[in-house]
Subunit: 228 residues, 2 copies
């Protein structure tokens, strides 16, 4: 369903070329939960950004549900993303002038929900990540891990078909991380969403169907979890 | 050497009051390595910010080396920090228009190093955190974990007496995290620096002299490691 072939992303700096992605092949089924691991700088965020159409590859192809993401015009990629993709960024990317509730309802606006419905859904998911008493705090009135949870809530609200999560528990203590992972797993399984999650914490990978290990811009190995 | 008495930080929002710090008492010796743990939102970043004089308490006192940090004028706090404190921020706070090398040499400017010396020291410490081939990358040309390591290098360059590190390995894979922790420990012990480090990862606390656990704005318990 997500098909990546021979993918390259190369940054040129002066006369050096950095192969952030150095030939990636990948196949992910709809409804699959995949964890992406690997050392700092190995290309995980770059792969996620290309899959979400936030950046263009230098070589290779990306197909999602039959659509060549890498060949779409900018406006069409943006539209595809707003209808189908939730993204949890490594540095959250919240809007600083909006509070937690508004940051989450904003994502729902583009999905066609009525305003009363949006507020109700947004409140619900913020409560599920433990932020029911932080709805009207702006990002600079929230702790790092609270901002991260708003970013998660925003990505999941409206149940997009695909979720890309870039280290969603990096700033959370173990207890809160496991609670968030249980919630994420439950939502994904319940709605048959496809999840690609970058993490440095092997403890967060227990529910994944497959683990992909990256190194130097390539997928070094793939490890399928035995079916229960 | 660091003496905190009855410390409170209270945020008022409408008619609610949030006790980010709710009565903290603390004593840290010079040369001590302390790890601060606790759930998301428990007050760790707030405590670090107050100790570094980045924010003012609402009640209580903070004394470092005999100086009442909470009573200093703004210009004097800034001067104290530039001479004595290195800070690794939870969201790195790098300067986006400067590359990795410039971000680190900037911190050294205020400590009175000559420019040739600054560049040499900065290069050295960036190599030690594995970024020798990323010196001229700006923050947006670096991965999350690479930005975090620039932030660490900047805090440690110039060997300040005190280092406050807010989740310095949150975006690093385990292998890189352990390498960074070894380096940090070595530098701290070598120069008898005082370190207060927030972390969610108990694996990073093995070299600490003491662990402090926070909950709801208070230090819930303190756990001293047996001397080797
Ligand atoms: N400016 C502010 N206004 C209102 N509340 C605030 C403000 N800044 C912080 N808070 C609240 O104070 C509490 C402590 O925040 P702090 O950033 O110290 O937590 P933390 O322990 O560092 O959490 P994390 O592990 O998620 O980084 C949080 O509940 C947060 O919502
Ligand atoms: N705009 C750019 N220009 C030059 N190099 C870049 C640029 N963006 C990323 N890189 C490099 O590409 C490599 C991969 O970056 P990426 O952000 O994908 O790593 P990552 O696996 O997400 O790392 P981390 O775990 O630290 O977040 C890094 O070595 C980085 O320095
Ligand atoms: Mg990354
Ligand atoms: Mg914090």
């Amino acid at each position: 369903w997500i098909k990546v072939e021979d993918l390259y992303k190369i940054y040129r700096m002066g006369d050096t070329a950095i192969h952030a992605l150095d030939g990636v092949d990948l196949n992910i089924d709809q409804g699959e939960m995949v964890c992406l691991l690997g050392p700092s700088g190995s290309g995980k965020s770059t792969l996620l950004n290309l899959l979400a159409g936030l950046e263009r590859p230098d070589r290779g192809s990306i197909e999602i549900g039959g659509i060549r993401i890498d060949k779409l015009k900018e406006a069409d990629v943006t539209r595809f993303r707003s209808l189908n993709v939730g993204f949890v960024f490594q540095s959250y990317n919240l809007i600083n002038t909006l509070d937690a509730l508004e940051n989450v309802t904003l994502g729902l606006t583009f999905k066609g929900y009525r305003s009363t419905e949006r507020e109700k859904l947004a409140k619900e998911i913020l409560e599920h990540v433990g932020l029911g008493d932080r709805l009207h705090h702006k990002p600079n009135q929230l702790s790092g891990g609270q901002q991260q949870r708003v970013s998660i809530a925003r990505a999941f609200a409206g149940n997009p078909k695909i979720i890309f999560a870039d280290e969603p528990t990096g700033n959370l203590d173990t207890h809160t991380s496991l609670e968030v992972m249980d919630l994420i797993t439950q939502m994904i399984r319940d709605k048959n969403q496809t999840l690609i999650m970058v993490t440095h914490d092997e403890e967060m990978t227990t529910n994944a169907d497959r683990l992909l290990h990256m190194r130097d811009g390539k997928i070094e190995r793939s490890h399928t979890r035995a079916a229960p």
